[in-house]
Amino acid sequence: MVTWEKSSKLGQLILLIIMVILAVVMLFPFVYVIAVSFSSYKDAISNSLIIIPAHPTLQAYTWVLQNGGVLHALLISFFSSTVGTLVSLFLTVTAAYTLSCRDVPGNKFFLWLVLLTLLISPSIITKYLVVRQLGMIDTLWALIIPSALNPFNVLVIRQFFMGIPQELIDSAKLDGANDWQILGRIMLPLSKASLAAIGLFYAVEIWNSFFEPTIYLNNQQLYPVSVILRLIVLQATEPVEAVLPGQVPPPDLTLQMAVVVLATLPILLIYPFLQRYFTKGVLTGSIKG
């Protein structure tokens, strides 16, 4: 910035030190957890601070993954995140398309209907009763459908669609294109970046979802990794055998941390892509609120 002259060198240094401390505070827990997960059990309980494992081993991971339960939960999470993101994106673009059309009678009304949902947060109880009424309890649909659409994302994509030149759409219509074709061949290819960003947000949201599986699922076979993580790490006293078929030794430190890492890994892999969109400002609309 132009306004910060060289005179503030000392200030910059202090700021730099604060920032480095902050970065350590933010990153250290992750580094530590990863290091513990790759450590031998003996090293892990040796009371020492581990940043680089002294005797790196994949023991914890092979055990966790061979045992089936965690892998099963990871697959459930992966499945619901993927299918859920596709469902969410479909609903988002179709709704946004109609809201962006200029010559659709009743459009204003639809827009208000969507805007109002930003103000009302449905009570979890009545929403639960609706989901139950629909027979979605104890199905993976309960993780996907009830929270499929985020009204903010609809409005962001609508805004983006409205920025697409009307002449493009009109000429496609003259060529006899119907609404599906306009959406699929003109709107979607032009808004790839925003769609990717919103898709990643949806995916992370479903992957992290804990509340929904907790209230909608009773069948342990359907538990996603977030719920399994709670059972293994936070409630180590619970009968884990019920969750993980097979003989389960008392959950020990390295195993627990391996599960934490496995549950975090997909987010860490997605994060660089997600982050690319922060700077582009495509999401400023969805971020507000």
Partner: protein
């Protein structure tokens, strides 16, 4: 298009009636032409009706002794008795106090930290270093509470790293995760760690909108960096601060469910039960649907009133406000 039709219709005996008719017909034909668009909107419409508007209507079970087997239509109406049992619940006092204490601690401590952090980030000269810091600071926002709490437990729990260190140097280990007195500060600290970085994003966006010539003029006038921050940057983001504060005050009865739900068992309900978990317990666990809905309804009404009054106060103080 309609006017030309109307002009054509002018030759006919009753121009006004025909014009209206042709207007209707043109509306109909426009609707007919938009049928593809309607069809595309249908899934979204069904979604919003089912998962937003239907639960909203469902709130009337707050006035019923609702039983899922009887349904809304046949469940007996009980007037305000659910509301009465909310206020006579022996736990409600402590629940409200816990909720308010946690929220107020968050507004007092977590909220300003985000502003301070944005100012610091904004003061960094190197654009690349700033980007790096932002991506580090945003990261925990994208990681779910279960993972975050598992990690925290590993660090500060009874058997965690910090305690190993303390007993290593001969001190007495403390388990702050199971100590009821530490619960509320712990919740706030976790929120600060997880969400402060992300909360800077709106402040930073507002800062980039500040006219750079203001700073240049201030430099010419000899204003130092603190004065520029105080007189240009902070006023520049004031409307965003106030907007977020109004929204936060409206949410004072919401403390977030997952974070507290996951940690309340370790300290007991007296220290940790808040409105969100209370609704869950009464409704989904105990099946007191009517009572749980009544609490949620009261919460919504109070939230709306708070946003309204916070907004009025802001406007009286000469701020832009929310609407």
């Amino acid at each position: 298009m309609q006017t030309t039709k109307g002009a054509v219709a002018g030759k006919l005996p009753s121009p006004a009636a025909t014009a209206r008719k042709s207007k209707q017909r043109s509306l109909l034909s426009r609707m007919k032409r938009a049928r593809g668009a309607y069809l595309l909107f249908l899934p979204g419409l069904l979604f919003f009706l089912t998962f937003y508007y239907l639960p909203l209507l469902g709130n009337i079970i707050a006035f019923q002794d609702y039983s899922p087997y009887l349904g809304i239509l046949r469940s007996p109406w009980v007037g305000f008795s659910n509301f009465a049992s909310v206020f006579t619940d022996p736990e409600i006092g402590i629940v409200i106090i816990n909720t308010l204490v946690i929220s107020i601690l968050q507004i007092v401590f977590a909220f300003p930290v985000g502003i301070i952090l944005s100012l610091m980030l904004n003061a960094l000269i190197s654009e690349r270093f700033k980007r790096f810091m932002q991506s580090v600071l945003y990261l925990p926002h994208f990681i779910g509470w279960v993972i975050i709490i598992s990690i925290w437990q590993q660090l500060v729990g009874g058997d965690g790293l910090v305690n190993h260190f303390i007993s290593g140097i001969g001190g007495h280990p403390v388990n702050i995760l199971t100590n009821p007195d530490f619960f509320k500060p712990l919740i706030v600290l976790q929120v600060i760690w997880k969400e402060t970085g992300w909360s800077t994003i709106l402040f930073m966006a507002a800062m980039t909108g500040i006219d750079i010539s203001l700073y240049e003029a201030a430099v010419v006038d000899g204003a130092g960096k603190w004065r520029r921050m105080w007189h240009i940057t902070l006023p520049g983001i004031r409307s965003v601060i106030i907007l977020l504060l109004i929204l936060r005050i409206g949410n004072i009865l919401s403390t977030g469910f997952e974070q507290i739900f996951l940690q309340r068992n370790a300290v007991g309900l007296n220290a940790a039960e808040v409105i969100d978990t209370f609704v869950y317990d009464r409704g989904i666990i105990n099946g007191n649907w009517g009572v749980a809905t009544a609490i949620a309804l009261i919460k919504t009404v109070i939230g709306a009133l708070l946003v309204y009054s916070a907004n009025r106060i802001a406007k009286r103080l000469g701020e832009e406000g929310l609407y």
